[in-house]
């Protein structure tokens, strides 16, 4: 923006959007804060009373909280690692000139278009089912004992499903980045005597640093709130093994009908997300600077 006039104009044109966004965010946030300070259970309507920070105390000292926090971090971290490592490899493959490349690309992207609920159901009933699932069939045709995925490795199963959903996203972003890599740079590396691995680690990977950052930031935002996959498959169990923060808040509000405690949990989740975002931006956000 060059002149005073264009600056003022820019602000004025932005104002409606900013104000709307602010209302959209502020009103629900204010209501959540208000509810979090009440003892408010849907089983006892009309009995709300102000209890200060008691809800927070209950929520934070609940053993379920630490377990679900751990599950959330494991889930987010594992899915990030899987999607980025596999995403880079898939992107490298899709960048090659192969026959039917556009069809292969379309198939790789497809999981991203499947609703979380649907994909969780498909995984639960068609793939991982201990009796009728594809995996069980493969295991038993090989003469092995089928695995009851959701009973034996519940969190790992959830991670598998979520990673499957997010792999296309990572692969797609990394693929477009790969295609923007200057051909002459690769040739220069070739002339400099760099082999395939050196070219990957010294030229390609640094080039992908920025898109990887974008993938990490965006995926983290969505992975912190994974819910449908858990709800459809394990319902948070067995025990608390697959309960993450989002699912814990849901169970507080709609299983125990404790709106106050759920609101407190929601605010805790906001704080956790902010802490995480702060560190993420500090660690990887550097890459986003031009």
């Amino acid at each position: 923006m060059a002149t005073q006039q264009t600056q003022t104009l820019g602000r004025m044109l932005l104002a409606p959007a900013v104000v709307l966004l602010l209302i959209w965010m502020i009103v629900p946030l204010a209501m959540t804060i208000y509810f979090s300070l009440l003892s408010y259970n849907l089983l006892n309507p009309g009995m709300e009373r102000f209890v200060g920070l008691e809800n927070f105390e209950y929520f934070l000292t609940d053993p379920a909280f630490l377990a679900s926090l751990r599950n959330t971090l494991v889930l987010v971290g594992s899915v990030l690692v899987i999607t980025i490592v596999l995403g880079v490899l898939v992107a490298l493959l899709l960048d090659q000139a192969i026959v039917g490349r556009s069809i292969v690309r379309l198939m790789v992207i497809a999981p991203f278009f499947v609703m979380p609920t649907v994909s969780a159901l498909v995984w639960k009933n068609l793939l991982m089912h201990p009796v009728s699932g594809l995996f069980a069939w493969i295991m038993s045709s090989l003469g092995m004992q089928p695995i009851d995925w959701f009973a034996e490795y519940p969190l790992f199963s959830i991670i598998l499903i979520v990673a499957w959903q997010w792999l296309p996203f990572a692969a797609l972003i990394l693929l477009t980045a790969l295609q923007s890599l200057d051909e002459e740079q690769k040739e220069a590396a070739l002339m400099d005597g760099a082999g395939a691995f050196s070219t990957f680690f010294y030229i390609t990977l640094p080039h992908l640093a920025r898109p990887i950052t974008v993938v990490i930031l965006i995926e983290t935002i969505f992975l912190l709130t994974v819910f449908a996959e858990i709800f459809v498959t394990t319902g948070g169990g067995p025990g608390l093994q697959t309960t993450n923060i989002a699912f814990l808040i849901y169970s507080q509000a709609l299983i125990q009908y404790d709106v106050g405690s759920a609101s407190a949990g929601g605010l805790v989740a906001v704080v956790i997300a902010n802490i995480l975002a702060f560190f993420l931006v500090r660690i990887v956000g550097r890459n986003l600077e031009a």
Binding site: D182, E184, Q185, E187, A188, A189, L190, M191, D192, G193, A194, S198, Y202, I203, P206, H207, A209
Partner: protein, 340 residues
């Protein structure tokens, strides 16, 4: 050492022949320029020598050894790319050192050679900067630094100056030439700019449509072009070509004469050569040091004439032109030069 020999090198992309058989002998330490219009295959030929493309036929030899099937890094050549192709996330030092690092040289040797290259190219103050923090000319020098530090048998330049502005281009042209003399390393330089070719080269290869039209020193090309194409391509403004009766009178299909060899309003009797042309000036370009006249001559066409200094002739004037009889080039029906 860096003697490069091409033997019948051919390159096709599908049914499309890009290089239709090139034979070339490049002497050690010489500066050879590939020049030609766009799409003539000059860059492809350079990439074939570099090993970035596979040949369809023929052999490439470096110092007598057949390298046709040898990968680029093992050929001992280094290349300066048109886009410079610097590694954006590495410092200048990292960029220059990369080739040595890949070759697994000891650290102190790398440091010494990088410092040395930087000193030659005046890059020492910039060694820790990233490429994006450098100007166009500095990036160009980093690209050259990356090439020289490996002490290659030959440098390959792919239109390295085309992204620079005119003044910087002239300066870098001098620097590259001086550096090549200093290092006494064979260099192959691709350009479409015939001024670059004429000023930098020991020998020029003129390419057209995948064929080598002529290979010779700049002055050989200027004074004895092998055919119509070379005659028209080398020299600025372009050589005048005249066909028809005028040419037939000299036993040729086409005759050519350079603008600088056309005298304007010569003194003396008419027709020392019997070739005086009278016409009207359509455009006169006054450069101070030279005057270019574009003269419409009836039955012959537009003739360009170049006069030294200011001639005081303006558009619309009628002038008499007389080509220098000793400097007329004669071409046969196939466009080849008829030797005198």
């Amino acid at each position: 050492m860096g003697r490069i020999t091409l033997e019948g090198v051919k390159k096709s992309f599908g049914a499309h022949d890009i290089i239709k058989g090139a034979d070339l002998e490049i002497a050690d330490g010489s500066f050879v320029v590939f020049v030609g219009p766009s799409g003539c295959g000059k860059t492809t030929l350079l990439r074939l020598i570099a090993g970035l493309e596979d040949v369809t036929g023929g052999r490439i030899l470096i110092d007598g050894a057949d390298v046709t099937a040898v990968p680029p890094a093992k050929r001992g050549l280094s290349m300066v790319f048109q886009s410079y192709a610097l590694y954006p996330h590495m410092s200048v030092r990292g960029n220059i050192a990369f080739g040595l690092k890949m070759a697994g040289r000891p650290r102190e040797e790398i440091a010494r050679k990088v410092e040395g290259a930087a000193a030659i190219l005046n890059l020492t103050p910039y060694l820790d900067r990233k490429p994006r923090e450098l100007s166009g000319g500095q990036r160009q020098r980093v690209a050259i630094g990356r090439a020289i530090v490996r002490e290659p048998k030959a440098f390959l330049f792919d239109e390295p100056l085309s992204n620079l502005d005119a003044a910087l281009r002239v300066q870098m042209r001098l620097e590259v030439t001086r550096l090549q003399r200093q290092l006494d390393t064979t260099a192959i330089y691709v350009t479409h700019d015939q001024v670059e070719a004429m000023t930098m080269a020991d020998r020029i290869v003129v390419l057209n449509a995948g064929r080598i039209e002529q290979y010779g020193t700049p002055l050989e090309l200027y004074e004895h072009p092998a055919n119509l194409f070379v005659a028209g391509f080398i020299g600025s403004p372009k050589m005048n070509f005249v066909g028809g009766r005028t040419a037939a009178a000299l036993d040729a299909t086409t005759i050519g004469v350079r603008p600088e060899h056309v005298a304007v309003n010569p003194g003396g009797a008419d027709g020392a050569t019997g070739l005086d042309w009278v016409g009207t000036v359509s455009v006169a370009e006054h450069l101070g040091s030279d005057t270019f006249l574009y003269v419409e001559v009836p039955e012959i066409g537009t003739i360009t004439a170049r006069g030294a200094g200011e001639l005081g002739i303006k558009a619309g004037d009628s002038v008499r032109l007389r080509p220098d009889a000793a400097r007329i080039h004669r071409f046969d029906a196939n466009g080849n030069t008829i030797s005198a």
